[in-house]
């Protein structure tokens, strides 16, 4: 008994610094935000308790549309990130000369300050002076300039692509690591049985990557759901609000219009949505873990 208790105490001693730190620095503002969400806090010096009014307002406005858009945006961004990441990891995992260099060349989007990366994309998307529109014209694929951020349909995808770009290095790296953890003898066995490279990828690599992919997609989901800079710098949620996601809307309300109370309510909603997601994730993974206990 005492042995047991002393380990528990020790565990808590180990955790204490980090827990305290995060509690003070993050949890306190979080609670503050939560409380704020029930007030009409603004630039005014006085704030009043307003109960659920802020939440009412959110659901009575156009927010439902924003929620749906956020989900769609996040879904595509995360999916494409995973697909591109797995693709990249597969390529970089091939034993070809130069792969060490190629691996390093994958990292820059992660290293460069996010805003700078986004500015570079802004340039790329520019209709008059940008690379994409310019190249397309030079190659005669399109007639005149194409401004990718000018229409909701293209701007929606343009922001997704940029988000993918920023997230891909880390996904690639993790997937590469996960791939290398697959025992070589499985491939040799399959090869001996006549399975070609693609067949091996489809029947062995992919299924065995699934658990890692789930973990990664959850982490990436949290980041993507909260992805702010990209949309803000590229379109500020426009045109016609067609790239406005929950976090953009939250920022606009809280920081732009200084409606701290309403903004806080939106932030709390985001957290609730994400928590539901993560809970579902834990369910799925624990079921998977039971499925093939190794």
């Amino acid at each position: 008994m005492s042995v047991q208790r002393s380990t528990v105490i020790f565990a808590w001693i180990l955790l204490l610094p980090a827990v305290l730190y995060v509690t003070v620095i993050v949890a306190y503002p979080l609670v503050d935000t939560f409380i704020l969400s029930f007030t009409d806090a603004s630039l005014k010096k006085t704030t009043n308790w307003v109960g659920w009014a802020n939440y009412d307002k959110i659901f009575n406005g156009t927010f439902a549309e924003v929620i749906v858009r956020t989900f769609v945006w996040t879904f595509f961004s995360v999916s494409i990130k995973m697909i591109v990441g797995v693709f990249g990891a597969t390529m970089l995992n091939a034993a070809v000369p130069g792969r060490a260099l190629f691996r390093v060349l994958t990292m820059p989007p992660w290293i460069v300050p996010m805003a700078i990366g986004i500015f570079m994309w802004g340039w790329m998307y520019n209709g008059q002076f940008g690379m994409i529109s310019g190249m397309l014209q030079n190659w005669g694929i399109v007639d005149g300039p194409v401004a990718f951020l000018a229409r909701g349909s293209t701007a929606f995808w343009a922001t997704i692509i940029t988000d993918v770009w920023i997230g891909v290095p880390l996904v690639t790296l993790y997937m590469l690591a996960a791939m290398q953890a697959i025992p070589q003898d499985l491939y040799e066995a399959a090869w001996t049985d006549g399975a070609g490279r693609f067949y091996r990828f489809r029947r062995i690599t992919l299924p065995l990557l699934i658990p890692s992919m789930i973990t990664m997609s959850m982490l990436s989901l949290i980041a993507t759901f909260n992805s702010f800079d990209i949309i803000w710098i590229l379109t500020q949620g426009g045109p016609n609000g067609e790239t406005t996601t929950m976090i953009i809307d939250t920022y606009r309300t809280a920081i732009g219009s200084k409606k701290y109370g309403e903004g806080a309510a939106r932030a709390v909603l985001i957290c609730i949505f994400l928590s539901i997601f993560c809970l579902a994730y834990f369910r799925v993974t624990s079921r998977l873990a039971q499925g093939d206990s190794r």
């Binding site: 630039l43 010096k45 005149g144 401004a147 229409r151 500020q236 949620g237 016609n240 732009g256 200084k258």
Partner: protein, 381 residues
């Protein structure tokens, strides 16, 4: 120790003129020290607000005048008294940009007005008279159409990105057609005949504008013009210096007028120095701010920055004489209109941008868009 007066200026570095004045003022006022910080344009406003909201305001900050009402309403800034003589020294309407509920809340420090630039070379290519800029919207539309059809190059630069100057550019149309957004009594006047004409005119010219106006803000449109790929744009005097660096044969004229216009007009945008309450050095801050912008110092700063002068005077006359291109910028002042003062100016801005974008992208008819925007604006007063 010295009393500190914290001062947030926007930009990349302290303007040499201001740096000079600060030194001078500190010498004249021993015991006070100006602690200045320069913050980039993109974040300047937010930082000042965050500091104020968190309860540690700066003493003095450079802000867009449109934010004054919001600050004032929340008692974050103190009113500033101007003597009648001081008020009279400014161009008309300038005081309006800092006035709400009968009090002045900021000291104007920068001023800009807009005019129409046109590309004479493109006019020639399109068979138009290169020396005759449009004076009415009808001409403007016709010229734009002609240029586009004859040269394949867009005739007019429309600004419609999700950015503050999309609203500004629309207000050019409003103020050159005797329109307004809100009247002195705080009544929303957006849904008017004049404004409908303005929005319709904007819609009509879009086909002859650059591809995808919703992805360009003012400076980007100007860049296209500077590249010779636009017939006409509406821009501030800042474009002149850039044009001088290009081979473009250009001209500048007053903004063309709409059917209901009563005279030339333009949008008047000022930036102000706002003094925040609760710092204990409010008096001195006001004193310092007035010193920075007094009739002696201000023109030096304006000259350095290429700003429209705040006050008429001989210096201005000399400047116009030396640089005739200044004329339309000064002339427009007399019939200009201010940026409307709203409590939630971001709300106003978003509503106006949404309205313009809806029309530009063809998502809504001008009348409907106007009606919707007018209704939305009610909550931001």
């Amino acid at each position: 120790a010295d009393q500190e007066i914290s001062f947030i200026a926007c930009g990349d570095k302290m303007q040499p003129a201001h740096a000079d004045f600060i030194k001078k003022w500190e010498e004249a006022n021993p015991g006070y020290k100006i602690a200045s910080e320069v913050v980039g344009w993109a974040q300047c406003q937010d930082k000042v607000t965050t500091l104020a909201a968190a309860g540690t305001p700066v003493a003095l900050a450079y802000v867009g005048s449109r934010t004054l009402k919001e600050f004032a309403d929340n008692e974050l800034i103190v009113p500033i008294t101007f003597s009648d003589a001081e008020k009279a020294a400014y161009y008309p309407y300038i005081m309006d940009t800092v006035t709400t509920s009968g009090k002045q809340w900021g000291i104007p420090v920068a001023f800009s007005t807009k005019a129409l630039y046109w590309n004479k070379e493109l006019f020639k290519q399109a068979g138009l008279d290169p020396e005759k800029p449009p004076t009415t919207w009808a001409e403007e539309l016709e010229y734009a159409k002609t240029i586009k059809e004859k040269t394949g190059i867009p005739g007019f630069g429309v600004v419609a990105k999700t950015f503050d100057n999309t609203m500004h550019q629309f207000l050019h149309w409003v103020y050159t057609n005797d329109g307004s957004v809100i009247d002195g009594d705080g009544k929303i006047t957006l849904d008017s005949k004049q404004n409908l004409e303005a929005l319709t005119a904007l819609k009509d010219i879009v086909p002859y504008a650059e591809e995808g106006p919703t992805s360009y803000e003012q400076n980007e449109v100007r860049a296209i013009f500077l590249d010779g790929k636009l017939g006409m744009i509406q821009a501030s005097v800042g474009a002149v210096n850039r044009l001088k660096e290009t081979k473009i044969d250009w001209g500048v004229a007053a903004l063309p007028l709409g059917p209901s216009a009563k005279g030339p007009g333009t949008l008047l945008i000022t930036d102000s120095l706002a003094v925040f309450s609760g710092t204990g050095v409010e008096e001195k801050a006001i004193e310092f701010a007035k010193f920075l912008t007094d009739p002696e110092n201000q023109p030096i700063y304006e000259a350095q920055e290429g700003l429209t002068p705040l006050r008429p005077g001989k210096a201005v006359d000399d400047m116009v004489a030396a640089n005739p291109y200044w004329k339309p910028f000064i002339d427009g002042i007399s019939n200009g209109g201010p940026e409307p003062l709203f409590l939630d100016y971001k709300g106003l801005q978003n509503t106006m941008i949404e309205m313009v974008q809806a029309v530009v992208t063809g998502k809504a008819e001008p009348a409907d868009a106007l009606k919707k925007a007018a209704a939305d604006l009610e909550q931001f007063k």
